[in-house]
Chain length 504, copies 2
C-alpha cells in the first residue's frame, strides 16, 4: 500500500490543519504540560519537540513533559540541554537527561508505568495542554492510528485540551490494524478488562478523538532511533543458561510445561540476551505479554518459537527494523500493540500468570532489589514497568551481573541503597554465577542461596562476614545498620567496594 | 434458628466422623504442614491447635503453620512457646511469637496476603497435609460454612490431603449466607473476577469439598478472642481530623464526592480511630471494601453512614461482638465475607479505585514506608495486606503518629530502616501534625511537605540538617549514606533518636 501525504489524512475536515513543526511548536506556552507519544525510543514525536527546542535558543520558557517512557531521536537529550523542562515523567533513559536530573535541574517523577494513566484520569497530575502523538494515518472518523508504540497516547489524547498529530511517512502503513486501543474508564465505574490470553483483541485499531481537538498536523519522515542494546556476550549467555536450567527444573517439578507461561522481559542488554537464550532451547509455543519487544522476540518468532507477542512498543536495532518492516505481513497476525496501562495492568499480569524477567542494579542478602538508584542517590532510568510486573507475575525473576565496574562494585550487597522491589516481590535472582530460588523462603533462608549462587566469589566471604555479625543482633532480617551501606561508602571513597584499606 | 450439634452436620455420611480434639491432633505428624482458618483473631480453629500444643509436652515434633493472618485464642503464643513450629506464614501479631521469630527460633515468611493462595495453587510452598477450618455447619452436599473469617480456608481445603473441621457452636448460625466463596482458578486459565461493586456476590455460600477428604469433625464452643484495639485518643482523633480535611479538599477539587470511594482500613488502633472519625463527618453512603472489619465499621453502619461492607474477617471487641450478633439480621444484607485473595486482589482494588488507609511504623523524607521492621531488623507483625492495597488503590494513605516511645523515636526518619512500600505506592502521609499529599511529586518536592506537615517539631530541624547535607551530593534522591541510619543507631546506643551527645 502506497499513499501520498494527503491521503494519510482521510478526514477532509482535517486536511487544512497541516502546519509546519515550527508553527505547531509556537502554540506551546511557558508553563504548559505536554503529553508526548513515545515508549522506549519507539513511536515518539520527532518534529515538534525538535522545533520547540529550537525556540529555546532565543526564548525562555519551561514545560512539563509526560510520555509513555523514554524517547528516541535524542529528544530527551535535547530537552535536557535546552533547559526547558520543569517536570519530566514517568521514565527516561538518556545519559544527558539523567545527569541533569541528578544535578537537580528539573524534576523527575519516577512512576510505575501502569500508574500514570490513572493519575491523569483522576486529575491528580497537571492537566495536559497538548497531546502530541505520532501517527501513520488519521482515519475518516478522526481515529489516530499510532506507529511503533502506543504508550500513554490514548489517555493523553483523551484528556488534553488540544492535540497535535505528527504523521510520520517513514513509519510503515502496514502497522494499521496491529494496535488495540482499549479505554478502561473511571475507577468505580469500570468493567473487568476482558483479556484472558495474550492474543485477545478487546478494543479498536486507533485513538478515537473529537476531531475539533486536533489543532494541527505535521508531516515528518524519520525512522525511530534504533535500539542501543549490545549483543549477548559470554556473561549474559551464561545467565540465560542458568535461567533455562531453572525453567527445566520447574517443568520437571510439574509446575510448568514446555510452553512455559506468557513471558515479559524488561529493557536492556541483559534482558534481551536472556530472551536470545530461548533460541537454542527446547521450549516452544511461547507467548510474550510484555512492554517492549526487542530484537530477540522477532528472532524467536522467525525460529517458530514464539507464536504470539503482545506489547506496547517495538524497539529494534537498525538491521532488525529493516528486516521486520520489509516482511511485515509475516508478523502482523502474531502481534498486538496496546496502551501501556493494559500491557502493564496488574489485573492482566496476575490473571495470565506471567513469567517476568527484569534487571536489577543491585540486590541484597534478603532479596530486595534496587533497579534505579546508583549508590542510593543517582537516578539511572527509572522503575519503568518492573514493579508492575514483579509484583503480579507468577514468577518474578531479576537478572544482574554479579559485579560491575571491573569488579569494583558487587551487585550483591548487605543492604540495597535504594529499594524498588521488596523481598515479597522477588522470586528468582539470576547472575552469571547461578540462580537463587527464593520462593516461600524466610529472610534468613535466603541469605546462603543469594551469597553462594549469585554473588561473585570476590565478595562472598565479605557477605558472610556481614551476615554473621548481623546474626549476633538477631531479628527477622538481621542487619548491622552502622555498616549496612559501608560497601557503598567504600566505593565512593576508594573507588571499590573491596578496599584493602578498611573504611571503618 | 437453633440446632443441636448433630444437626450442624447435615450430611449423614459425615456424622460418624466426629472425634475429640485430641484424636484429631493425634493425626498430625512431625514435619507436616497445616493450613488453619483464622484471620486477625477471627474464625480461627481453637480446639485442635490447643490439643496439638498439649502433645508437645511429652513429644518432640515440628510443623509448618499457614493461616489467613494472625490467630486469636492465644494460639500463636502457645505455638511459639511450645516450640513446635518450623515455619509460620503469612502474618502474625502476637508478642511472644514475634519475640521467638526475632530470636530465630523458627522461620517466618512475611507475604502479601493476596499472594499466599497463588503460591499454594502453583505448588511452590510445602504441600498442605491438613486443612483445619472452623465452621458453623457442614451442609448436606458437604459444603463447609465458615464462621467470622474466610481467610485462606478455601485454598487450604482444596489443596489439602485431608481436612479437619471444627464446628464452633458459639459462633452464630445467622452467619450462614454471608460468605461468598469464589475460586479464581489456575493462572492462565482464569476468567476476570466479576466484581464491579463492593456488594457483588459472585460465588457460593461455603467451601465445597470432596467429603471423603473430611477426616474428622470436632465440636467446640468458644467465641473468637475480642480485638485488642484501644479506643481513639486525642492524637488519633487529630489524625482523623486531618484526613477528613484532606477528603474535603478532594471533594472541593471535584476529585471525590461525598460518598468518597470504597474504603479499606488496616488493622490497629490508629486505623480504627480514623474510621471512627467519619462518624462526625458529613460523608455518607460510604462503602467499605476491606480485609478486617473492626468496631468502627459497625458503628458507621449503625449511624447510617456505611451502606455496605465487604471483608474477609470481622474482629470485634467483646461488647461490639455481643451487640452485632444479638441483632445480626440488621447487618446481614450489608455484609459479605470473602476469601482474602478476593478482598485483597489487585484486580478488584484497582478496578474499584479504593481509598486505603494503613499504618506505618516509620516513613522517610521521600515517602518510603516501613510497616514491619523495628530498627530495620525486628519483625513487628508483617506486611499483611498493606502492600496489596497501597499499590493498587486510587488513594494510598499511610497514617502514623509522628513520634513513638515518648518522643525518643521519630516516625519520620532520613531513610527508613526497612522498606515495605516504596515512594511510588505512597500518596498521602498523615500524622497528628498534618498531612502531606505526595501525589505526582518528585522526591525533592516531597521533603519539605513531609518535614513541615508530618514530622514532630522536635525533629524538624534535624531532618532539614540531614537533607541540606544530602543535597550537597546531589541526586534524584539525595542521601548521606554514612548517616542514613544514624538516627536508628542513636536510638540503639542512647535510647533516643534525639541525643544531646552526638553519635558520630
Ligand atoms: C537496571 C538497568 C539500568 C540495567 O540495564 P542494562 O543495560 O541491562 O545493564 P548493564 O549491566 O549494562 O548496566 C548499566 C550500567 O549500570 C552500571 N551498573 C550495574 N550495576 C551497578 C551497580 N550495582 N552500581 C552502580 N552501577 C551499576 C553498569 O556498570 C553500566 O554502567 P555503564 O552504562 O557506565 O557501562 C535497566 O534494566 C533499567 O533501567 N531497569 C529499570 C527499569 C526496568 O526494569 N524496566 C523493565 C520494564 S521496561
Ligand atoms: C504498623 C503497625 C504495627 C501499627 O500498629 P498500631 O497498633 O496502629 O500502632 P501503635 O502506634 O500502637 O504502635 C505499635 C507499637 O509500635 C511502636 N512503634 C511505633 N512506631 C515505631 C517506630 N518508628 N519504631 C519503633 N517502634 C515504633 C509503638 O511504640 C508501639 O509499641 P508498643 O506496642 O510497645 O506500645 C500495624 O498497623 C501493622 O502491623 N501494620 C502492618 C500490616 C498492615 O498494615 N496491615 C494492613 C492491612 S491488615
Amino acid at each position: 500500500m502506497k499513499m501520498n501525504n494527503f491521503e494519510r489524512i482521510q478526514n477532509p475536515k482535517l486536511r487544512h490543519r497541516v502546519v509546519t513543526a515550527e508553527q505547531a511548536a509556537s502554540w506551546i506556552e511557558d508553563g504548559m504540560t505536554l503529553g508526548l507519544s513515545g515508549f522506549t525510543r519507539a513511536g515518539d514525536v520527532k518534529a515538534v519537540p525538535t522545533a520547540l527546542v529550537k525556540r529555546a535558543q532565543h526564548e525562555k520558557f519551561k514545560v512539563n513533559v509526560f510520555t509513555g517512557a523514554s524517547l528516541g531521536s535524542d529528544i530527551d537529550k535535547l530537552f535536557a540541554e535546552a533547559g526547558i523542562l520543569r517536570k519530566r515523567l514517568p521514565f527516561q533513559a538518556d545519559a544527558t537527561m539523567r545527569k541533569r536530573i541528578n544535578e537537580g535541574e528539573f524534576l523527575f517523577v519516577d512512576q510505575h508505568l501502569s500508574h500514570t494513566a490513572e493519575y491523569i484520569r483522576n486529575r491528580v497530575l497537571e492537566p495536559i495542554d497538548f497531546a502530541i502523538v505520532e501517527a501513520i494515518t488519521i482515519t475518516g472518523e478522526g481515529m489516530i492510528i499510532p506507529t511503533t508504540s502506543v504508550g500513554n497516547s490514548l489517555v493523553f489524547a483523551q484528556h488534553a485540551q488540544e492535540i497535535i498529530v505528527e504523521i510520520n511517512t517513514a513509519q510503515p502503513l502496514a502497522l494499521e490494524g496491529v494496535h488495540d486501543l482499549y479505554e478502561v474508564g473511571q475507577q468505580g465505574e469500570r468493567n473487568p478488562i476482558p483479556i484472558t490470553k495474550p492474543e485477545d483483541r478487546i478494543g479498536v485499531k486507533g485513538i478515537q478523538v473529537d476531531v475539533d481537538k486536533i489543532k494541527g498536523i505535521v508531516f515528518t519522515h524519520q525512522l525511530d532511533s534504533p535500539s542501543t542494546i549490545v549483543p549477548p556476550d559470554k556473561t549474559t549467555q551464561t545467565m540465560a543458561k542458568h535461567l533455562i536450567h531453572f525453567f527445566r527444573a520447574e517443568i520437571a517439578a510439574g509446575r510448568l510445561t514446555e510452553s512455559l507461561a506468557p513471558l515479559q522481559s524488561g529493557i536492556g542488554s541483559v534482558a534481551n540476551a536472556v530472551f536470545h537464550g530461548f533460541l537454542e532451547s527446547e521450549f516452544s509455543h511461547l507467548k510474550v505479554y510484555s512492554e517492549v519487544l526487542q530484537d530477540a522476540v522477532f528472532d524467536l518468532i522467525d525460529a517458530g518459537k514464539v507464536s504470539f507477542a503482545s506489547c506496547c512498543s517495538m524497539t529494534l536495532s537498525d538491521a532488525k527494523m529493516k528486516q521486520v518492516f520489509a516482511h511485515f505481513e509475516k508478523y502482523r497476525e502474531k502481534l498486538v500493540l496496546r496502551p501501556q496501562e493494559i500491557s502493564n495492568h496488574p489485573e492482566i499480569i496476575r490473571r495470565l500468570g506471567l513469567i517476568s524477567i527484569n534487571t536489577a542494579l543491585e540486590v541484597d542478602l534478603y532479596g530486595n532489589v534496587n533497579s534505579t538508584h546508583v549508590l542510593g542517590t543517582n537516578m539511572m532510568n527509572g522503575i519503568g514497568g518492573s514493579g508492575d510486573f514483579a509484583r503480579h507475575s507468577r514468577l518474578a525473576i531479576f537478572v544482574t551481573k554479579s559485579i560491575a565496574k571491573e569488579g569494583n562494585i558487587s551487585s550483591v550487597v548487605p543492604f540495597v541503597s535504594h529499594v524498588d522491589h521488596t523481598e515479597h516481590d522477588v522470586d528468582i535472582i539470576v547472575t552469571e554465577q547461578g540462580y537463587a530460588d527464593l520462593r516461600g523462603l524466610a529472610p534468613r533462608e535466603r541469605v546462603a542461596l543469594i551469597i553462594e549462587k549469585c554473588a561473585h566469589p570476590l565478595y562472598r566471604e565479605k557477605l558472610w562476614d556481614y551476615y554473621k555479625e548481623a546474626l549476633k543482633g538477631g531479628g527477622q532480617t538481621p542487619h548491622v545498620l552502622e555498616k549496612a551501606f559501608s560497601w557503598h561508602s567504600n566505593f565512593k571513597k576508594y573507588g571499590t567496594m573491596n578496599p584493602t584499606v578498611s573504611a571503618d
